[in-house]
Amino acid sequence: MYEIISKRRLNSTITWLVIKAPLVARKARPGQFIILRTDEYGERIPLTMAGHDSEKGTIDIIYQAVGKTTLLLDQFEVGDALLDVVGPLGRPTEMEGLKRVAVVGGGTGNALAYPIAKGMYDTGIQVDMIAGFQTKDVVILEEEFRAGTSNLYITTDDGSYGEKGFTTDKLKALIESGEKYDEVVAVGPPVMMKFVCQLTAKYGIKTVVSLTAYMVDGTGMCGGCRVVIGGENKFACVDGPEFDGQLVNWDELIQRNSFYKEQEQEDMVHVCRLTGGVRCHD
């Protein structure tokens, strides 16, 4: 069993958990993820590790409560335990040879960008972080980014905090003002990643994205996480989750991520209405 050591709400839907998982913590690296199952009836869902402490044997996850499993996860309190945590999975972020990088995060994607940005910064890479949010109320991880990056730029779509505009606007402004990046890393909604890649392609800057695909096993066994990269099928769980964004077939990715939408909507309404988030058959 995987005990929850601490729980911290970052905003109304995003929560940070520290979980006891010594086997995972021992090997975890930035960019890798875990798969968890809350209980016997639960789905297996993938979540990026926001950090880890190999001495204490703990890992960090930051998740947004968007559907059934993440809502159930939100019911867990310190001292409760998850049934299964597998990992670390996926390839770690590649950092070799990089000196200066811009990391672009969008919404919850900032949670996935955080370990990458911090991991790079900790190895001595200069990291400019552009963290984009819809509005002031949902801004997360500001302090963490301030402490773990070289420069932090916050944008909001409505201008209620930081600079008004999209992350792509800020990235464009930085590049045009003469900042030179070896690489851009973009993590967020697929549409945002797609536009970042279109922008950086124009300037010839290599861009790495972290893709979220439906996953079951996370070890290359089910093929459910397949994504098209440069016209070839790759499995996000073992070949990724990070890929060269300029080679991603975005339209197909966006389409595949909508597969279970209707079913999930129904499930979610069920959890909320009937039980306020707790399983009824337990």
């Binding site: 995972v24 199952r37 290359g220 066994m221 089910c222 397949r226 058959h281």
Partner: protein, 464 residues
């Protein structure tokens, strides 16, 4: 007294039109009377050709004689001296190509129903046995790690613990059993049986660590650093293959592994489980092996009105077990033989709406000895379906090969290992089962696990 009836005692089964709507076991098993009656058909041949057809050399006429005498527990004990998973083998082994394929009774009539008798003895033991664990060897204080808890890993672990080794099994999924847990459906192999085999190993002292992906959570080299003196790799061949035809990433195209895992391991057919799965009306399953049959029969049970097996050769060449094909036909699965898919068609929103196929005819035999299917010109047609399941085979997953220094592959892309001993290019690392041979059978995987246990024992004895 010998029973001269030429046919096997028929297996009691659920009615096909009832069972194709539930996940309960299809065959309900012989009663004691049926088992004795069937056992009487055995001629007790002195040369035992049946035993020669069994990859783990079950002492077949001996256990059958015990059943004929009504000594069911003794029959089980005879089997368990060579096979650690009789309740499983009795259900899923392709007996027609193995023991029963060589049975003398099969020359003039039907062979003795060896598989059904094996299942009977094992089920009898589970229900009536004393539950006493086999006598334990004294611990020799040495540790061996087993990677993967499929039949290869379980057989290896069972034999090693019997020899006195401390055994830890590392499994990447949350449940033990490999394909027995995630692939083969409940209606063919109840999961309780798999769990009870695993519990029996736990009772005998085997330690299982689930949620541990060797190659990611720890490497094989790190297992040695942790004090294991040998490692057996039985990770199976789980990487699904696709056909590379247009439309394979449309919504509603599954690999058989994903489809079966959602259903069998993640229990998508039970409403209290969260696992999402598409509810399809018309399904095409591509392939002709056991995996294809299982996927098709699951689709039917998930409520599909129409399920088609699309296979490019004819009924003569189809690789699935006879019994499974027969069961599938009874349950209303359609067989589109000599048919090959060329593209999958989708709606505007990306959902599957059809499978474009071409008719085939059989030409000259190819390297595999089977007649090679060739396309008939201008014979394209569209099968209207809303889901397509790819069951065209799997390959080895490379996690361990890529992360273990000096471990070499074989020509099929599996782990390179000697057939007899399981020894690999890395000292102390042994491998067997599907990870070495590519997709094969439960009994061959078990045989490989047992052989490896023997050679690990010899290897460690030399290396005091």
């Amino acid at each position: 007294m010998i029973n001269l009836v030429k046919e096997k005692n028929p297996m009691p089964e659920q009615d096909p039109m009832v069972r194709n709507k539930n996940f309960k076991e299809v065959s309900t098993g012989y009663t004691a009377d049926m088992a004795i009656n069937e056992a009487m058909r055995c001629l007790q041949c002195r040369k035992k050709p049946c035993t020669g057809g069994c990859p783990v050399r079950v002492r077949i006429p001996e256990f059958i004689a015990r059943i004929a005498a009504g000594e069911f527990e003794e029959a089980y004990q005879v089997i368990s001296t060579t096979s650690s998973l009789p309740a499983i083998c009795g259900r899923v082994c392709p007996q027609e190509n193995q023991c029963e394929g060589r049975c003398v009774q099969g020359l003039k009539g039907e062979p003795v129903a060896i598989g059904r008798l094996e299942r009977f003895a094992a089920d009898w033991h589970r229900e009536h046995g004393s539950g006493e664990a086999a006598a334990q060897a004294d611990s020799n204080g040495r540790k061996v790690a087993v990677v993967g808890s499929g039949p290869a890993g379980l057989a290896c672990a069972g034999d090693l613990i019997a020899k006195g080794y401390g055994v830890t099994v590392y499994e990447s999924l949350h449940k033990e059993g490999g394909v027995l847990a995630y692939g083969i459906p409940e209606f063919r192999l109840p999961k309780d049986i798999v769990s009870s085999e695993v519990s029996a190993l736990k009772d005998r002292g085997v330690c299982f660590i689930n949620n541990a992906v060797v190659g990611m959570s720890m490497t094989v080299d790190e297992l040695f650093e942790d004090g294991f003196e040998a490692v057996f790799v039985g990770t199976g061949a789980g990487l699904p293959q696709f056909m590379n035809i247009p439309g394979e990433n449309l919504l509603g195209v599954y690999s058989a592994n994903e489809y079966l895992t959602r259903i069998n391991l993640m229990k998508a057919y039970k409403p209290e489980y969260d696992t999402p799965i598409q509810i399809s009306r018309k399904v095409a399953v591509i392939g002709g092996g056991n995996v294809a049959m299982d996927a098709a029969r699951c689709a039917k049970r998930m409520g599909a009105e129409e399920v088609h097996i699309v296979y490019r050769r004819s009924m003569e060449e189809i690789p699935a077990r006879q019994e499974e094909i027969h069961h599938a036909i009874e349950e209303g699965i359609h067989f589109q033989l000599l048919t090959n898919p060329v593209a999958i068609r989708g709606t505007e929103k990306g959902y599957v709406c059809g499978l474009e196929c071409v008719e085939m005819e059989l030409g000259e035999p190819d390297a595999s000895g089977r007649r090679r299917p060739v396309e008939k010109k201008d014979s394209n047609f569209v099968l209207e379906v809303d889901a397509v399941i790819m069951a065209i085979g799997t390959r080895l997953n490379k996690l361990i090969l890529e992360t273990t220094e000096n471990l070499s592959a074989n020509s099929r892309g599996g782990i390179g290992a000697e057939e007899e001993t399981g020894a690999t290019s890395c000292p102390g690392v042994f491998a067997g089962g599907d990870a070495v041979t590519g997709a094969a059978t439960v009994i061959l995987a078990m045989g490989a696990g047992k052989n490896a246990a023997d050679s690990i024992d010899r290897y460690l004895e030399k290396r005091v």
